[in-house]
Each structure stands twice: as structure tokens, then as C-alpha cells.
């Protein structure tokens, strides 16, 4: 419905600043055939995967420890709040200035933007762990590993999924800014090039491809995994 409305409106407008759906799809096909779109998309996806993994692992670990340790929570709470409220652009620019326009700085900039979000979500998860279940595990002498796998992680699962979902949404957005400001490849860099050329068709072609990939990951990976992990609630 949306695509049909877009096609009709663009046809009526007849402007190169507002291309039709067919023109965008045709540009997408052409960029795919030339290899430019898959190549830049793969580079961006690699950065997304690296930054996502880094922020989830570090953020979850830190969040869980902060949720269980009052002392560490008091000590780090202000730092987390500052990072949470710091504009993404400031963090990206500072990291590029201090560490150079390189791949590691780019991934670190994306991960650091996502990190406080994961910390806060996982801290709430750790705070909400049921002490009665922990006591039950202790009374049956469950090993630490067994208790972690069967008692603690299932309680943290909804928080992990919430952090993963909001994290992916944030990272999709930030990674393009990071590429636009300091990389010479990736979807963000391509969009910057076509912005300078005022080529809205190619901007939309890259944007649409990017949205399709992000949405596919949500449908194919995140949602089925979440349904499986929370099947006991139904």
C-alpha cells in the first residue's frame, strides 16, 4: 500500500529529488549487479556485528555485576549516566580525533554509544533476579554452572532480548554516521557520496537495501529466538 502510494506520488511529482519505486528498485538491481551494493552492505554488516557483540558482552557483564554489587553500582552509576546522555556525534568525533580514522575507532565508537543502554537494561535484570529461586538452587546444591544456565540466565533472557533489540535499532543508526564521518566504505559512506551528488535515487536504493537487511535479521533471527526462549509463558 505504502509502495503503491509512493509510486503514484512520485510519478505525479516527476522530480529527480523524489524518484519512483521502480527507479529505486532498478538502481538497487544495477548496484547489486555491479557488486557495489553487496560489498558496502557486507562491510557495514561486519561493523554492526562487531560493535553489537562488543557492546552486548561488555554491557551485559558490567550491567549484571552492577545489579548485584551495590558498591560498584554507586561507583559507576554517574559514568553510565553521562555516557547514556552524551550525544552520539560527540562521542564519535572525540574517538576519531583521539584514536584516528581507523576501523577499531569506528567499531569502538558504535559500541560505546550502545554500551550504557545495555548496562542499564541488564542492571535492571540483575536487580530483579528472584532470591527465592536462588535459595532453591542452593538448597539442592546446584553447581554454579547449572544454576547460571537453568536459574539465572532464563530470568535475564527478557532483559537480554530487550537490550539486543534496542541495541540493534541504535547501532543500525549510529554505524551509518560513523561511516559517513570517518570511513571510506560502507553504506554510510556511499550515502554521503550520493548526498554530495544530490542523487536521491541511489540514496534511497542503499537505504532500502539496508532496511531490508535489518528487518530480515529481526524476522529471521531475533523474533524466532525470543519466541523460543519465552515459550513457557504461553
Amino acid at each position: 500500500m505504502f509502495l503503491l502510494a509512493w509510486q503514484i506520488a512520485a510519478g505525479l511529482a516527476h522530480s529527480r529529488l523524489f524518484p519512483t519505486v521502480t527507479a529505486v528498485l532498478s538502481a538497487m538491481a544495477q548496484q547489486t549487479m555491479s557488486g557495489a551494493l553487496p560489498w558496502n552492505l557486507a562491510i557495514t554488516m561486519g561493523r554492526v556485528a562487531a560493535a553489537f557483540t562488543l557492546s552486548m558482552v561488555l554491557g551485559s557483564g558490567l550491567g549484571i555485576v552492577m545489579g548485584r554489587s551495590r558498591w560498584l553500582d554507586l561507583w559507576l552509576d554517574n559514568t553510565v549516566t553521562v555516557l547514556l546522555n552524551l550525544p552520539a556525534l560527540v562521542l564519535i568525533v572525540l574517538i576519531y580525533v583521539w584514536f584516528g580514522l581507523n576501523e577499531i575507532a569506528a567499531i569502538a565508537a558504535v559500541a560505546l554509544n550502545k554500551l550504557p543502554n545495555t548496562v542499564v537494561t541488564m542492571r535492571e535484570g540483575a536487580r530483579s533476579l528472584d532470591p527465592a529461586l536462588a535459595e532453591m538452587a542452593r538448597s539442592f546444591h546446584m553447581s554454579r554452572r547449572r544454576a547460571l544456565r537453568h536459574v539465572i540466565l532464563p530470568q535475564l533472557a527478557p532483559y537480554l532480548f530487550a537490550a539486543a533489540r534496542s541495541g540493534l535499532a541504535l547501532i543500525w543508526k549510529i554505524v551509518l554516521v560513523v561511516e559517513l564521518l570517518g570511513r571510506s566504505n560502507g553504506v554510510g559512506f556511499q550515502i554521503q557520496i550520493y548526498f554530495q551528488l544530490f542523487d536521491v535515487t541511489l540514496i534511497l536504493a542503499y537505504t532500502l537495501a539496508f532496511i531490508l537487511v535489518a528487518q530480515s535479521i529481526e524476522w529471521i533471527v531475533v523474533q524466532p529466538l525470543e519466541r523460543w526462549a519465552t515459550r513457557w509463558r504461553r
Binding site: E135, R138, R146, W232
Partner: protein, 233 residues
């Protein structure tokens, strides 16, 4: 009925004592100091004996179970286990405390140190839970969830079972049915058991001995040996 002082002689079921408990004092810290919960209590428990702790709500019965179960170690006194090793203890908490993301059968298997699916299945059958073995706890009634908790306590082949008001807030019919099912299990897997209840009829139906506890700080008011003909088992 034979009533005597707490330090009286022990019955036949106590031929082999597995636990001697001496609590001098137990208190919880509060903002204004501390709240004494348990006074001086002595208890010797036989290997196949069921002892009921009966007393008013909040008098410290659950605290006593937690001390025996090793969940509370901050008390003045001593726990003396036969052979100096702590036996396997199966605990039935007041709330079932099942893992909601695991099926009924998985809840039993996870409590076992070495998986024994045959024992788990036998217990589920004995407690009328066989049709629900692959059900998640969310779909069970409170009475059924309590029976799963009982099955889980027996699934570890315990030498001592601690039962904290396992039938509280069930309707009388369901409570009686659950009691009978518990006795069925106990008959085939006789262990020592400590039962906390405020229902004297339930204590008389299940226990060899009853310790009547006084209000905080809990102390033994009276020890009652239940004559065999009065018990349901």
C-alpha cells in the same frame, strides 16, 4: 496420647538418630537492634522419623527449617549430623519455587545431582502427576505445583526431607488428598522428615512426634508422641 517434656525419651523410630540440633539463640538484626526469633531448642531426629513443628504463625518454625537446611548459618548453637557428613536434604518450600521455564519433569531432573529419569517418572506417577510431566508449571494448579515440589524433594533420594507448610492454603479436600499422596511416597522411600505446620490435625495425621512451639522467641512448650493408631500411616 503421651505428653512429656522436650528432653524426654525417644521412640522406636529414633533408634538411629541422624541429627542432633541445639539452638541456643537466633536473632535477626533490625534498625533498633535485633529481634530474637528462636530461644533454646533441642531436637534429636531419627532416621525414619517424621517430626512436626507446630506453632503460631511467625514464631520461627521456618527459620528453624532454614537452619537445618543450611540456608541460614548465623545462629548460636550446633547442628550435629550422624557421621559428621551433611545428609542429602530435600526441601519443600512454602511456595513451590519451581522453575517456570522448565517442564515438571525437567524441574525434578535439574534438582538431581546425577540425572535419574526413572526415579523422576516413578515419583510423578506416585503423586498423580504423570499426565503433566511435560507441562510447564504455569499451567498447574497450586495443589499440583506443591506436589511437584514434593516430588522434587524426593527426587534427590534424600535422607531428610524438610516440609514447610506444604499444604497451606489448599482446600481441605485437596490438602487431604495431597497428604495421602505424600504418605504413599514416604511409605516406599522412608526418610526422616521435619514438617512445619500450624494445623494440629495435619501434624497428628502425619507425624511420629509433635513439638509444640511457643511464640517468639520460639521455644518448645511440649513434646507429644503420637500413638501409632492415631496416625494416618
Amino acid at each position: 496420647m503421651d505428653c512429656r517434656a522436650a528432653s524426654g525419651t525417644l521412640g522406636d523410630a529414633m533408634a538411629e538418630v541422624i541429627l542432633r540440633l541445639h539452638i541456643e539463640r537466633k536473632a535477626f538484626p533490625t534498625n533498633s537492634g535485633e529481634l530474637p526469633v528462636l530461644g533454646t531448642i533441642d531436637l534429636a531426629l531419627g532416621a525414619r522419623e517424621i517430626v512436626a513443628l507446630v506453632g503460631p504463625s511467625g514464631c520461627g518454625k521456618t527459620t528453624m527449617l532454614r537452619i537445618i537446611g543450611g540456608l541460614d548459618t548465623e545462629f548460636a548453637g550446633a547442628l550435629d549430623w550422624r557421621g559428621a557428613t551433611i545428609p542429602r536434604i530435600g526441601t519443600v518450600f512454602q511456595e513451590p519455587r519451581l522453575l517456570p521455564w522448565r517442564t515438571v519433569r525437567e524441574n525434578l531432573l535439574l534438582a538431581q545431582r546425577t540425572a535419574n529419569p526413572q526415579l523422576a517418572d516413578e515419583l510423578l506417577h506416585s503423586l498423580d502427576l504423570a499426565p503433566f510431566r511435560d507441562t510447564f508449571p504455569r499451567a498447574l494448579s497450586l495443589g499440583m505445583a506443591r506436589r511437584v515440589a514434593i516430588a522434587r524433594a524426593f527426587a534427590i533420594e534424600p535422607e531428610l526431607v524438610l516440609l514447610d507448610e506444604p499444604f497451606v492454603s489448599l482446600d481441605p479436600e485437596m490438602a487431604a488428598r495431597s497428604r495421602n499422596l505424600l504418605l504413599n511416597v514416604w511409605r516406599t522411600r522412608a526418610t526422616a522428615a521435619l514438617l512445619v505446620t500450624h494445623d494440629r490435625a495435619e501434624a497428628l495425621a502425619l507425624a511420629d512426634r509433635i513439638l509444640l512451639l511457643g511464640d517468639r522467641p520460639a521455644h518448645v512448650l511440649q513434646e507429644i508422641v503420637v500413638p501409632p493408631m492415631q496416625r494416618s500411616r
